[in-house]
Amino acid sequence: MLSMFKSIPTHMDYKGQKLAEQIFQGIILVSAVIGFIYGLIIEQFGWTVYIMLAGFTVSCLLTLPPWPMYRQNPLTWQPALPEAPVESREKPQENLKKKKHK
């Protein structure tokens, strides 16, 4: 059961994360501009808020789940070394820590 959940991919690669951020910022800004102009024309600020919320929902759907489009540039890891002496074992761990910080 647990392994079935773990098999679902949940991560985004770095380019995917950047793409997701650009997508939601673009959608929200565009909906904000449309909502502002529409609200100004019909003189209802409520509609500005509704259009803004619609943009929020759409960008939630598009960028919250890790869709496959955000996983198209996977990191290329070094191939595992056949023999692992004591020194070389520490290096990949350092690398891992750096990646986690980002």
Binding site: T10, Q17, A32, F45, V49, M52
Partner: protein
């Protein structure tokens, strides 16, 4: 940005910032608008009495009853940054003891979307028009003005005075009705 929660966090924070900017834009588009409209006030009848003022120093004070008509078109005041108008009719006069007396006689709330054309006939005042002495009797100049608070979605709460007021003399004796 690497987990669902961190993406949700930054998405929400960004949306809130944009919403705040929109609200400020809504305020700035209407901040410099003139919200005064012409108002016609007509007083048809004034009754003056001299009664015990139980709220004050227990002396007999002047109490006026004013019957008035108000005609105004409030449509130009409303825009997308107005939720409601709070209209109030106030009487201003000077007596021997006070240079400026202001009494609110009547008020009304006009919500957005309600009828904005005021056409009120033979309105009685809602609140008692008490003077704190005997300053109403034979007062030559009592001015009625309609003013309003504009309640906005965002920004300042302007207090506007309508252009157009009426000044009238009060009766010379008590318990008499004066028609205009």
């Amino acid at each position: 940005m690497n987990t669902v929660l961190s993406r949700a966090n930054s998405l929400f924070a960004f949306s809130l910032s944009v919403m705040a900017a929109l609200t400020f834009g809504c305020f700035i588009t209407t901040a410099f608008k003139n919200r005064s409209v012409p108002v016609q006030i007509q007083v048809s009848k004034v009754l003056l009495k001299n009664v015990d003022d139980f709220t004050g120093p227990r002396e007999r004070s002047d109490l006026g009853f004013v019957t008035f008509d108000i005609t105004a078109d409030l449509q130009p005041i409303f825009d997308w940054n107005v939720k409601e108008l709070f209209l109030y009719l106030s009487a201003e006069y000077s007596t021997r003891s006070n240079v400026l007396n202001q009494v609110v006689l009547w008020d009304k709330i006009v919500l957005r979307g309600e009828n904005t054309k005021l056409n009120l006939r033979d309105m009685k005042s809602k609140y008692f028009f008490f003077d704190d002495g005997n300053g109403l009797k034979a007062n030559k100049n009592i001015t009625l003005t309609l003013s309003w608070n504009v309640v906005p979605n965002a920004g300042i709460l302007p207090l506007v005075m309508g252009s157009g007021h009426v000044s009238l003399p009060f009766p010379e004796s008590y318990e008499t009705t004066k028609s205009y």
